[in-house]
Symmetry: C2
């Protein structure tokens, strides 16, 4: 495949180069060459995307969602998290396997059409969902939340199966829900599994203040300290939300190279209280990705909204418009998101040798004027502006159609 005459190419490489009027040659599923005037005879499969009027950039990476809940969009707005959990959990129990898979398919289509090329999706029926992503040609990380020790063998089997198939688009993850909803034995079993297979272990953490009180009361430790005492924290640990953290806990995350997923819209909508101490987390060098969370608390799967709201929220919170730049926000959704999912050797930037996960944005429609490409991508663009989506070297969305 050839992406011809990219008007602007946001590479997201180490120097964050923005190239103009270059071509991208894709061979099989890899980016083979980036240069001016690549000859069409080099393009084996003759597939061409014309990008004279397009911004070309890495596909976005969603580090936290639950697509299986897609049919529940809008059923439970304006509720506090624990009340929300009660209602939504009741509705979730009514979903059949077929509905969950249909929801996942609908969610994939919405997310991908809006420019997301890698989705970390956590829900029931992991194996069937993994096959669905593979069939639709969409890159994913998949987990099925482990609620008790009895689920461990099934989780292990899932990880083994996926790791055997090196060409599979899906990477397995081991997940538990949260400290308050998971017992210590399960957390320890998850650590063991994650270490044994070198896969990520994920936990919701610090989404409400109530969790802090409960964990402190029960364990005498702050939540992150408690996880550290179990051996949970290292470069394979991914903590989602992380609103309620002390500076000491942030230092512990940095020291252990734990990763973090920031879900600003979900947190604001559920009024989780406080605001994630993003700036302190950045200053300590913790790697951060963005997530939409599910459509029940967002209610979109459009990461361009997170791209805009993240800087808005933290500028406002800190009374300082300089605390976060458009470049840093875009990094969260691309190269840093890839690091969060331990996929940065493969994706997150447009560089020779990386897998071809690439999206294009039409300049003529909603990007006028284009004084600053990066500013327009972060502060103006939304998912509807995405024209083409290439995942693993294949065109998945063409002219806005999945």
């Amino acid at each position: 495949m050839l992406i011809k005459n990219c008007r602007y190419l946001l590479t997201q490489n180490k120097n964050r180069d923005v190239l103009e009027n270059v071509d991208i040659l894709i061979m099989d599923n890899l980016i083979a060459r980036i240069a001016e005037n690549i000859h069409e005879k080099e393009n084996n499969d003759k597939v061409i995307i014309f990008a004279e009027n397009k911004i070309v950039m890495p596909g976005l990476i969603n580090t936290h969602t639950h697509l299986g809940m897609h049919s529940l969009k809008g059923i439970c707005d304006d509720k506090e998290l624990h009340e929300w959990l009660d209602k939504v959990t009741t509705e979730e129990k009514k979903l059949t396997k077929e509905q969950v898979l249909q929801n996942t398919e609908n969610g994939i289509k919405e997310a991908v059409r809006f420019g997301t090329t890698t989705i970390y999706d956590s829900y029931k029926y992991a194996l069937e969902r993994a096959e669905l992503f593979q069939r639709l040609g969409v890159r994913a990380c998949i987990s099925e939340t482990v609620h008790s020790l009895q689920n461990i063998p099934k989780a292990e089997q899932f990880v083994e199966m996926l790791l055997q198939d090196k060409k599979h688009l899906v990477t397995p993850i081991i997940a538990a829900h949260a400290i308050f909803s998971t017992n210590e034995d399960v957390l320890k079993a998850i650590i063991d599994l994650s270490e044994k297979y070198n896969v990520i272990r994920r936990l919701h953490l610090g989404e409400t203040r109530r969790e802090r009180f409960e964990v402190q009361q029960k364990t005498g430790k702050l939540p992150v300290e408690y996880l550290h005492s179990l051996g949970f924290l290292n470069e394979r640990a991914l903590l989602v939300h992380c609103i309620w953290l002390t500076k000491g806990e942030i230092k512990l995350l940095a020291k252990t190279q734990t990763k973090v997923s920031h879900n600003p819209i979900s947190n604001m909508k559920l009024a989780s209280g406080g605001i994630m101490p993003l700036i302190e987390i950045m200053e300590e060098g913790v790697v951060i990705g963005l997530g939409t969370d599910s459509v029940v608390s967002n209610n979109n799967l459009d990461l361009f909204e997170e791209l805009k709201i993240t800087p808005l929220l933290h500028k406002q919170y800190r009374w300082d418009p300089k605390v976060i730049t458009p470049q840093e926000a875009l990094d969260f959704a691309t190269i840093d998101g890839a690091k969060v999912l331990m996929l940065d050797k493969e994706i997150g930037s447009i560089e020779v040798g990386k897998k071809a996960d690439i999206i294009t944005i039409d300049i003529a429609q909603h990007m006028i004027p284009l004084n600053n490409v990066l500013s327009n991508i972060v502060y103006c663009a939304n998912g509807n502006d995405v024209c083409d989506v290439v995942i693993d070297g294949k065109i998945i969305v063409k002219d806005k159609q999945f």
Copy 2:
């Protein structure tokens, strides 16, 4: 014109009725009838919009922007307001009259294509801009900021001219910039003009904390108290931003029936500090509209973004997901916005006798599932989802094309 088989009609009438499968008959520029199965022979001009798969709702009302700055989008991100004003003002001085009018036209097209049908636009060259809105068929309120007493005759002439033409789509407004940038004589002259012609007088207020200190130091009064002492506040007064207010000042706004324009994205992006005390302002019964502000501090003209961010911001700020509902947010952008601009007898809801300012949203694209129409409009939709825009009974945008 007939809008046929509206799948959902958000009337925004007094009862906030959501009707299903009704037709809307438009005669000249007015809504003539809303009923099931209106016969096509009643439709004089034969123009039909088919709305089987559409949500039909009042056009959105933008109570604060400066379209003349459209070409400056993205030139000054990540700056504090007073620093931002210095840089942006320098760039604005370079704009020729032709550029301002071209910018205004580009801004109108962006805003209207994204579902805004009435724009309060404040900038230079008021008369020429008014003619431009009229030519493009877009409803507006227009002002040219009065900086000195010498500008008063020109402002008066503008108001007189527009008020003479009862069919003109543009309503005149008298505007000054802010207390800190306007002397007292000018403020008094503006009050007189506004009272004489029964038109709105507008002022930016409480956008920064610095303004409070300066006004207090100079006058010994809080800014709203100071305005009250001048006689500025009554139902013709419109104050924009209103971030930095005490509860006493809010009560004064309520008592005097002063109107307020809330611009959450601009305020967050400029990190104006604090957050508009929206909930207190609502509780006192002050009428509130939404505004995008200019593209230099937003950077879009998409009021659907304000529709989503307004509840997100205030839920988050108050740690309470119940403080503002999707219905209240939609009211700000429609019927309350009309009240802010003193146009609520004419627009803001879809009711017989009102002017036909109506937009449609495609259900099939991005509104799936549609468990809750109002929730989807506020939390999911964006300007790109708008299909058709009718202003004053004429189709201005058809199938997303201006």
